[in-house]
Point group: C2
Chain length 328, copies 2
């Protein structure tokens, strides 16, 4: 029998989950839950139902894993614990500073109801976290580096869009090549924010807006841009649509460490991603962890989990024998 | 209380384990077991005992995890199941084709005696296997690529040393840059053996040996060199010692896959290692898994395990809370 998946929230991430479920023959999409009027939402999977989120409870026994596709700012802190009372859940909560609190809430709800709740799944947090952790366990003495990009930062794009006179905008985060190369050479550089990433902005102005003023406002924006070397390009709405409509991303996790009785040998561990679609890759990771949630629950496990707590084999559709014979 | 480690076999790998234990404050090296006369073997750790392998059974309750540092060809297939009857064990068995059989033997012995036996730990098999598996679970539709090097292959160096007229030799396996770049571009090339790696040999001849004949014999050696573009350099014994005494290695694991309803988005996952010392890095991975073996045993788990079966958090000295707060 297939693993029956539910999607709660049908934006970019929810659609990515739908596509990922299609690539995994041991799963099926049972239903999509939306806050909108279900009649206004059409999903791609013919066999799946579109329901209002208020109907979710009725699906309690018809969904094995509910995938939470809301945002980290306000949706997930409330939704993931709430739905963990009814379902096994997986979310992609990515506000790093609030993870301990979110974990505690999901853990309590999931334990009480006998479900599994896996939080902060995706690539960062997610695959990047795993690689940081494995690399630290293997090389206890060393330095960690994470670079993001080249890719679109939704948060920074939104911040530009809020500036008066801006009609639309896309912001790319770009790792600084020379910094990355220095890390790869084992030079263990101390890197400031400015030395690690640059920011490139493509901005469409409203008619009559003051370009000089907008550029100044972007470049001096605290937290978002002030600490970075930022480039601003003003382009037409057509160009933005044609050249910058994708949501690519990626990045690099490196650990540079030493071994030997006198720490005489250097080692470099690097993990990197180049992603055409940030939400679809995130969704693909989530769906693999949905398989894990299903299996852990079947084994009688309950409570909050992260990628650190789950043995890799749970993610794969292959059996232990198959994995040992083909991938070890 | 520290995790008490034993080392069985005190060659390059055993010495690497000793160095790695020193880097992990929650562990201590209790004893080294050797087939040689213990009085002829001096280990670096002042507090550790050197014993003959015949004394191992007497350490049954004084060692938490025995690390098996013999070779895969003849030592480990016999030793790992044998010592799994007495201890929790970790080995680095790397004969990929014989892993299923070795796993079955270790699993049976460990289950019977109530121990944990983790096999095939290191970087390949080991960290590379993990990365192949995670990447396949996340991107079910795609192609896998593994490149090794640049690094010293002991097996190929030994093969050259067995040729008549050869006094000493070192062989480097080198990935072909253009092949690696093609994979990184998402071109999904089909690569022959020759297209993936080249082999570079540094050879010291015996006095009066025929260089032309030796070179011919190397380049046409079946399995080892015949399918590769091989370069042979004849050098002096001094140069070999000065320039080629290290044991560096490394390599690349890549998965190139697609997502999206119509498979319209490409993704590339890459993991790579640059290692100054192959045995010390392998040992560092093994020692992290020794921590896992100790903890799994404490929880009451028994039997054979591989890297696929062990949740990442077991490898780290940090608690779940610490990991979530600092690495997720």
């Amino acid at each position: 029998m297939s693993i029956r998946i539910g999607i709660l929230g049908y934006g970019n991430l929810g659609r990515g989950v739908e596509c990922a479920v299609k690539q995994n023959p041991d799963m099926e999409l049972a239903a999509v839950f939306t806050r909108r009027n279900p009649e206004d939402v059409k999903c791609l999977t013919e066999t799946a139902k579109v329901c209002n989120v208020s109907e979710a409870e009725a699906w309690k026994d018809k969904i094995d894993v509910m995938i939470m596709c809301g945002g980290s700012a306000t949706d997930l802190p409330e939704q993931t614990p709430k739905y963990a009372k009814l379902f096994n859940v997986v979310d992609s909560f990515d506000t790093h500073a609030r993870i301990p609190e979110h974990f505690a809430n999901v853990d309590a709800a999931a334990k009480e109801s006998g479900h599994v709740g896996i939080i902060s799944v995706g690539w960062d947090p997610g695959m990047f976290s795993l690689n940081r952790m494995y690399a630290n366990a293997v090389l206890p003495e060393g330095n960690d580096y994470t670079f993001w990009g080249k890719g679109v930062s939704q948060g920074h794009s939104d911040a530009i869009r809020r500036i008066e006179g801006v009609k639309d905008a896309k912001q790319y985060t770009i790792p600084v090549d020379s910094a990355l190369e220095s890390v790869r050479k084992g030079e263990n550089p101390e890197l400031s924010t400015r030395q690690k990433h640059t920011r490139e902005c493509f901005v469409v102005l409203e008619d009559g807006a003051d370009a000089v003023k907008v550029e100044e406002e972007i470049k001096t924006m605290p937290n978002y841009f002030a600490d970075y070397d930022t480039t601003v390009h003003f382009i037409s709405e057509e160009e933005l649509k044609e050249q910058h409509s994708g949501i690519p991303h990626g990045g690099f996790v490196l650990r540079s460490g030493v071994t030997g009785w006198n720490k005489e040998h250097k080692h470099l561990i690097e993990y990197n991603l180049k992603l055409d679609s940030n939400p679809e890759f995130t969704s693909s990771v989530i769906v693999a962890y949905a398989r894990a949630a299903y299996r852990l629950h079947k084994e009688g496990q309950t409570g909050g989990k992260t990628v650190f707590d789950i043995a890799p084999a749970y993610l794969s559709a292959k059996t232990g024998e198959e994995l040992r014979a083909t991938m070890l």
